[in-house]
Amino acid sequence: MSKPLSKPTPSVTAPTLSEVLILGDGRVLGHNLTPEFTALLAALNPADPQFLPRAEAVAAAQPEPSHHTCPP
């Protein structure tokens, strides 16, 4: 499962609902794809071409770690 963005800022608005619609033919639709919800959907169905690339985009977007050494 991909990592969420580091230290996500709480939404400026009240928490919103994410929704999933699972169709009888096996397709999955998601609404309000937050990083956490997308990671969940990708883990549930890694073969779905919608969710895995999106979850991976979050992991790829992690800021580079700092290489500075903190002074003692």
Binding site: S6, V12, T13, L21, G30, H31, L33
Partner: protein, 281 residues
Amino acid sequence: LDWVGQSRAALAGARAGAAREALRECRFCAHDCRVNRLGSDLGICRAGAETRVFSAQVDLADELELIPAFAVALSGCDLRCAFCISGGPSWNPGLGELISPTGLAAQATAELARGAKTILFEGGEPTIHLPYLLDVVSQLPDSARLVLKTNAYGSSVSRALLHGLFDVWCADYKFGNDACADRLARIPNYTQVVRENLVWAACQSDLIVRHLLMPGHIACCWQPVAAWLAAELPGVKVSLRTGFWPAWQSRRHVELTGPATAAEVRRAEALAKEFQLNLVH
């Protein structure tokens, strides 16, 4: 050519005042209501001078080249799409929170530092809130990649105020004919307006044209949209959204009570291939 040699922030700041003044006789969209939004008049979008935000968060629903996006959704819209996925706050500009442009810009800048690739403004419809939008943009770093997600029903007034400010326009081409636009979203003269906006956007920014595949609307909507894009904007990025969600007032239209079928999705994708569209996901 007020933009030549100016930073984006400075340009947006300079235009924000003009945009606020333009609220006295609002002509931001093709409805051309000409109401005084600084007073008590309301046009079709029902928005006054105030802008509210109903969502501001990192979002992954957009095209892969745009995500992770810090997506800011402004309340209110000038269209009345029965199938709107965010119908409540999109139809009601009074919902959501009042957030200062400075506060929103600070949050967006912080999200860029945390890894967001773009800052994306959506709605509702962001172009009905140009004073606020330009004010926020004027406080964002020039290096930020900005995306305007729009229904492409804006006017030449809006285009002049937006020119050169957004790196990407992600614009809807929802309906393939005026009858469907009128019946499902109460939009007059849709085809002419949306085409004018798309041609303009293609000339001045990166453009992604979105089409939400509606069940039962392949022949009347998707096919003419695909044909026009192939003929008039060859090579433009096209995002065919196949996950129609029967939300809001969809049930008022018998064909919109469920999602697009798998067969419809296959047919729509085959049409995209026939027209050699440059699909992005």
